[in-house]
């Protein structure tokens, strides 16, 4: 047992790193979807905007460039989310699949504009200084940047959870989900709440794009892969709950890392096999949020 653990330690650790990244990516999608009932299929394209911003700003391999990329990405994410909030407003009373049509259309347009700006080549992005080295973990080299990702993911998870569960803003958001009319009767503009939630949700997507760039790089088609992963995460965790997104991300992180290391022959089947299995056993995900029951 100990020997097994030793042999797979790096894969387990890596599962946490990928899980952290997936959490940052998916939690935005999950709160937007679970709380505002907006199925944002442009989430992957927003992520890709972040990755390409990293290409633009990190060229100098400096912390300044990396932080600039993060800042610009946050701003663009906020604006993109705000715009999306406005665009989806006329669709509020229409079937959710209409949002899928809209957001997938936006996603195609964004991806195409990115490929016009950046071309179709594959870019890699170096980690910021000090994190480019590999560290010795149990006798094996492990990239320092991925270790930092684990820390960032955990901090973000804590922050998002605190904001949603413990602050008055979070209370307002949760309340407007439970009973829109009630909240607007209290004099709060529903649209503002939606604007804020979509803004923050999309901000998390673009920021995740920057953070992921030193691992995944930036290239056409990445948006679709990432979107599917994020959808799998929130469905496994159960949409609309921060805890669910965290658990879903960690599960998928391990599936994609440890799972593939253990059964490489079934690597092509393991992700969707897990998804199917979870949904068959728990048709509403592992941790269905309170909201999702309605």
């Amino acid at each position: 047992m100990l020997g097994w653990f030793d042999a797979n330690l790096v894969s387990i650790l890596n599962g946490f790193a990928i899980g952290s990244l997936l959490f940052i990516l998916a939690v935005g999608l999950s709160i937007v979807f679970g709380m505002m009932d907006v199925l944002n299929l442009a989430h992957g394209a927003f992520f890709l905007i972040g990755s390409y911003l990293a290409v633009t700003f990190v060229a100098g391999e400096s912390w300044g460039g990396f932080l600039t990329a993060l800042g610009v990405a946050a701003l663009i994410g906020l604006l993109a989310g705000g715009a999306l909030s406005g665009l989806t407003e006329p669709l509020a009373r229409r079937p959710i699949l209409d949002q899928a049509l809209l957001t997938l259309g936006i996603s195609l347009i964004v991806a195409e504009v990115l490929s016009i700006i950046y071309g179709n080549d594959v870019f890699s992005v170096p980690p910021p200084p000090g994190l480019a080295e590999s560290i010795d973990v149990a006798g094996r080299a492990y990239p320092a940047y991925r270790l930092m990702l684990i820390a960032v993911g955990l901090v973000l998870a804590l922050v998002v959870w605190l904001v949603v569960e413990k602050t008055s803003i979070g209370a307002l958001v949760r309340a407007s989900v439970a009973d829109r009319e009630m909240v607007s009767a209290m004099g709060v503009d529903n649209r503002k709440v939606k604007f804020a939630v979509l803004g923050v949700g999309s901000l998390l997507a673009t920021v995740a794009g920057v953070l992921a760039a030193p691992v995944y790089g930036a290239r056409p088609g990445l948006d679709e892969t990432i979107l599917l992963l994020a959808l799998v995460v929130i469905v496994i965790g159960g949409r609309g709950s921060v805890r669910g997104a965290l658990v879903g991300a960690l599960v998928i992180g391990q599936v994609e890392s440890l799972g593939r290391a253990l059964v490489p022959d079934l690597a092509s089947f393991i992700l969707f096999g897990t998804l199917a299995l979870v949904l068959i056993v728990r048709p509403r995900g592992l941790f269905a949020g309170k909201v999702a029951h309605s």
């Binding site: 209409d98 997938l104 259309g105 599917l228 092509s268 998804l275």
Partner: protein
């Protein structure tokens, strides 16, 4: 949360209108609908007489994907089950028809009938798990099933040819004669696709289809009336799989190559979007939706220096606002306009 396309009001409204009208106006309605349908049929049948092979092939593709989209609409629009894995059954049908043609016979209609059967069997094998869930979870579960089938097609190289595709599928034969000319293949596709449309239309119009709509609109109510929603959804899933398999069989006959991606996510997603674009629940709307998707992606897209996806994206975004109920919503608007115009005149 509701993922049910809200075409229900329109259909029930129309049904009420028909029931309330006199026999004479019903005859009128029949005439109003029957004549254009007949004209359309004649036009469709005449396509090979004036269209060149490429255009004829394009219309064959449209017919096939239209049949696929309508079979998906039986799930999405009529039953309220939005599937992101419907291409799996299309793919199973296509591979079945391809393999039957290569290893046994390409004599029509053997490959397509077996394709339809295989699609239905595959749907039966996976559907009993899928239809237990609903909404987004159904969407994701079908996505997972579709991707697993896609990977299986990729992996079973000795049977499917893997990612190289199943190639060397012989031409469809009728009475021993191979159909090599685009126009003849078109007629073969047209006849079977029309039979498929007819079958789906009959299902949707039948009491069974009515029960599906009832389950879509109010499942608890239907359950209390003694219906078993599971059994109805399951049968709908199998039927939809069967018709998708039929479409897949036609596709194998037309393209004479089958690829894992034909069973994959992109095909599923595009067709789901085609259904929404056309107007879910109307059966004929998705035909137009499929036509637009095929034309944009396969006909105009390749001439745009690689900006085909951009055009597709713009079409989707514009359609959401301009056509709130898909193409099918257009007739509603027209009819209402006509009514008000008649009233004031």
């Amino acid at each position: 949360m509701s993922v049910i396309p809200d075409s229900s009001t329109e259909t029930t409204g129309a049904a009420a209108a028909v029931a309330a009208t006199s026999p004479a106006s019903r005859r009128n309605a029949l005439l109003r609908r029957g004549v254009p349908a007949l004209v359309l049929l004649v036009l469709l049948a005449a396509v090979p007489l004036f269209a060149d092979p490429f255009t004829t092939n394009t219309i064959s593709r449209i017919l096939i994907f239209a049949l696929f989209a309508v079979s998906l609409d039986l799930l999405v629009g009529i039953t309220g089950l939005p599937s992101l894995g419907h291409a799996a059954y299309f793919g199973v049908g296509a591979y079945t028809a391809g393999l039957v043609s290569i290893h046994w016979t390409s004599e029509a209609p053997v490959p397509v009938l077996l394709a339809a059967g295989a699609g239905a069997v595959a749907a039966a094998a996976t559907g009993w798990l899928a239809v237990r869930s609903g909404g987004v979870y159904f969407l994701m579960l079908t996505l997972a099933i579709g991707e697993l089938v896609h990977q299986l097609a990729q992996r079973l190289t000795s049977v499917t040819g893997g990612s190289n595709g199943l190639f060397g599928i012989p031409s469809v034969r009728i009475g021993g004669q191979p159909l090599t000319l685009a126009g003849l293949v078109y007629w073969y596709v047209l006849v079977l696709a029309l039979l498929g449309f007819l079958g789906l239309w009959l299902v949707a119009r039948s009491p069974f289809g009515g029960a599906l709509r009832g389950i879509r609109d109010n499942e608890p109510r239907m359950r209390s009336l003694g219906y078993s929603p599971f059994r109805y959804k399951y049968v709908a899933f199998i039927l939809a799989g069967g018709f998708a398999g039929l479409a897949g069989g036609l596709f194998a006959g037309l393209l004479r190559i089958v690829n894992p991606s034909d069973a994959g996510f992109t095909t599923s997603a595009l067709m789901l979007l085609a259904v929404i674009l056309g107007g879910a629940g109307t059966l004929w709307g998705p035909v137009l939706g499929a036509a637009v998707v095929v034309l944009v992606r396969d006909t105009f897209g390749p001439q745009l220096d690689g900006h085909g996806p951009l055009l597709l994206g713009i079409v989707f975004v514009v359609a959401v606002y301009v056509l709130p109920r898909g193409f099918a919503g257009l007739t509603g608007v027209l009819a209402r306009r006509k009514r008000t115009a008649g009233g004031t005149a």
